[in-house]
């Protein structure tokens, strides 16, 4: 009887104490936050986070190009567009100058910052404004089956070889337009030109941000000529003048209608490998960025998570950022095409043989350079818009290559002076 009594009391005490234990493990349980991210995140992201922390997430997803306008309107008005938002590398200059985002330096531990080397891109005047979660740099993606069907066994290392291979694929009727390249007035058009400028062995600006792409023998000039020549040769779909990079990836390359993505995203390889979402599962590989000289180059376009200064749930927002950039979640998130930013996570994926095209990614990674060595300038969005507009006009034949690059330079100088 005594034992029964003691057992009953102990069980009752444990039952009462259980919620308290739960609260200790999930101190922010019951709170709600809003999160604004680009489309294509894991469908279970919100549920997984709530399960681990008890914090409810209202996850809003938009295409990458549509996120910035939504962010800006909220930030200008002083109302948080969300508690955690996408924070692209290209916005760093503007957002830092405007003081719109919380300084995460004292909130993120040194080990995390060390493990995520790309954090430096989001650090301005010693303030960490975003924690990188998507390790986006550029490789080239090819449909190996198309190459094999065309009788091509060697991987192209130079741009001339790449064009020659594309012509063979087209001649054999494997794809009508073998090269996938956005030419619309969108960010993807600009980033493709940046990559090609590097592939032609040049830079966009000198140390004083003076444009280096207006001379006919400059890399930027040759890069634009390359794009126009590929279009004129029938290697690029003329409809690309109205397509974003995401549309070309998903509706053309992912459907087997294109054989080469010039500006390939490493994270997409996992997405294309999923037979439930892709018609080219098992056919896609990354290759090193082909260049004029044959010596590969690339640059990084990391994406981070930031907390708007006007957010009212900063603690829960920080918990989300820590959770989403943790090693375990980054490894899991690779399944939906997000390449980890943590060196430790990348290493583990590669060691486990789960990193698709791992050897190429490991070889390309050390060649990744920042686009702007001095840090992203405040006028970057104006520059990028000028680039995509000039390319769009040039490929439509509205302006010459010389006029296009000059208009980019003029717009850049104007932006620098404003």
């Amino acid at each position: 009887m005594n034992r029964l009594f003691r057992t009953t009391v102990a069980l009752a005490a444990l039952t009462i104490a259980l919620p308290a234990f739960a609260d200790d493990a999930k101190p922010l349980a019951g709170q709600s936050i809003t999160v604004l991210l680009p489309s294509g995140q894991s469908p279970t992201l919100a549920a997984d986070f709530e399960k681990d922390t008890g914090i409810k997430v209202d996850l809003q997803m938009l295409t990458w190009d549509d996120i910035r306008p939504k962010l800006i309107t909220g930030l200008i008005a002083g109302t948080p567009p969300a508690d955690v938002t996408e924070f692209d590398w290209s916005w760093t200059g503007q957002f830092a100058a405007a003081g719109w985002y919380e300084d995460l330096t004292p909130l993120i531990d040194a080990d995390t910052v060390k493990d995520i080397a790309g954090s430096a891109i989001f650090t301005v005047d010693g303030k960490l404004l975003g924690v990188p979660y998507s390790n986006d740099f550029r490789v080239m993606l090819i449909n190996r089956k198309h190459f094999t069907d065309a009788g091509i066994t060697d991987t192209p290392k130079t741009l001339d070889e790449l064009v020659a291979d594309a012509k063979i694929i087209k001649e054999k009727g494997i794809t009508t337009y073998p090269i996938g390249m956005p030419l619309s007035t969108s960010e993807g058009t600009s980033t493709t030109w940046y990559l090609l400028t590097k592939a032609f062995g040049g830079e966009l600006f000198d140390d004083n941000f003076k444009p280096l792409f207006t001379a006919p023998d400059s890399a930027g000039y040759k890069a634009l000529e390359f794009e126009i020549n590929a279009l004129k040769a029938g290697l690029v779909d003329p409809a690309s003048t109205g397509l974003k990079d995401s549309q070309i990836n998903e509706s053309m390359f992912g459907q087997g209608q294109t054989s080469i993505m010039i500006s390939g995203e490493p994270g997409r390889i996992a997405q294309f490998a999923d037979p439930t979402k892709s018609k080219v599962s098992g056919q896609i590989e990354a290759i090193l960025v082909a260049t004029e000289s044959g010596k590969t180059r690339s640059y990084g376009l990391l994406e981070a998570l930031g907390i708007p200064a006007s957010s009212e749930h900063k603690e829960a927002a920080l918990a989300f950022i820590k959770w989403m950039t943790s090693k375990d979640y980054q490894i899991k998130n690779y399944g939906v095409g997000v390449l980890p930013t943590r060196t430790s996570a990348l290493k583990q994926l590669n060691d486990d043989g789960k990193l698709l095209s791992g050897a190429v990614l490991v070889e390309q990674a050390p060649t990744v350079e920042p686009l702007f060595k001095q840090g992203t300038p405040t006028w970057y969005p104006q520059f990028s818009s000028a680039v995509s507009n000039a390319i769009n006009q040039a490929v439509k034949g509205e302006v010459t290559v010389a006029q296009a690059v000059q208009s980019i330079a003029d717009e850049t100088v104007k932006a620098q002076q404003q």
Binding site: T185, W379, P381, Q393
Partner: protein
């Protein structure tokens, strides 16, 4: 009997058409719209005008007064001038097509007899659609690979296989305008239809007795009596065409060849974060829109007096 004798003399405190109580009632009734206009139109316009003379940029400290500097810069900005050119082309195409098409549609509906209500509902339908939805639907119609338009033209034996409608600037300006016309034409039709229905039948009967032909009746009776309605319709068409944004943005993004002036305002303010520069441009858009509309408004006033 004189009028003074017929109308009894007013006593103090009487309520009448010119009494102070009526004046108070009038003021009370007018107060909500005066308040709404002040708070939603006049004060924001004045504030925008004032701020456009300052440097307002969240990336820079302070908002110093710079006078008309932004306006001077805007006049010399080649990209802004290109957007103006595009806008005037849109205004010309849209106003011409909406007016001609709207009058034609209104005349047809007016003759439709018992089918009039169904025809009117069908014509008004595009106007009920939001601009973005309208643009997305037309984006599919114009799609080079699977678009309805190319499909019809190819089926008709024409060489429009994968034709890209927005790769030629002239065609693109017209194609984008057409989407706006499709949405706004019903409003013109409804306004003109209302004017048509107010014309007494007696006038047409008298004209018929005098042996007038249908074109003569249209030119000498219909057109003069619907001039007021047409002028109102043209005013709204002009203002709507100056405010052209949704269709151009969805169909061709920020492409310079088709970029209307409001997209330029948006890019200056929300992409480049040069708020006061964008505000100065929006003030110029408002002035241009008002100036062109004023021509029609003055015309309406003259026509109304004649009527």
């Amino acid at each position: 009997m004189t009028l003074a004798a017929a109308v009894p003399a007013r006593r103090k405190g009487d309520k009448g058409i010119d009494g102070s109580a009526d004046a108070r009632l009038g003021l009370m009734l007018a107060a909500p719209i005066v308040f709404a206009m002040l708070s939603l139109v006049l004060i924001p316009v004045a504030s925008t005008l004032w701020e456009s003379m300052h440097r307002v940029n969240p990336m820079m400290a302070g908002t110093p007064f710079i006078g008309l500097q932004h306006y001077r810069d805007l006049l010399a900005d080649p990209i802004v001038n290109e957007a103006w050119r595009n806008t005037f082309i849109y205004v010309a195409i849209c106003v011409a097509l909406e007016t001609a098409g709207g009058i034609g549609a209104a005349l047809l509906i007016n003759q439709a007899g018992r089918w009039r209500r169904y025809l009117l509902a069908a014509v008004v339908l595009p106007w009920a659609l939001p601009g973005v939805v309208n643009a997305v639907v037309w984006g599919w119609i114009y799609n080079p690979a699977f678009g309805l338009l190319n499909g019809i033209l190819v089926a008709a034996g024409l060489d429009f296989e994968k034709f890209v409608w927005f790769n030629d600037r002239t065609i693109a300006l017209f194609a984008v305008s057409l989407v706006h016309v499709w949405r706004m034409l019903p409003l013109t039709a409804v306004i003109v239809l209302a004017a048509l229905q107010s014309i007494p039948n007696d006038l047409y009967e008298a004209a018929r007795i005098d042996g007038a032909s249908r074109p003569k009746m249209f030119a000498n009776i219909t057109l003069p009596l619907i001039r007021g309605g047409i002028a109102i319709a043209m005013t709204q068409s002009t203002v709507a065409a100056f405010n052209f944004f949704d269709e151009a943005w969805i169909l061709t993004g920020s492409a310079r060849g088709t970029r209307p002036i409001l997209v330029q305002v948006y890019l200056e303010a929300f992409q480049n974060l040069h708020f006061s520069y964008g505000m100065a441009l929006s003030v110029l858009v408002m002035i241009a829109s008002l100036a062109v509309s004023l021509v029609y408004v003055l015309r309406v006033q003259r026509v109304t007096r004649l009527d």
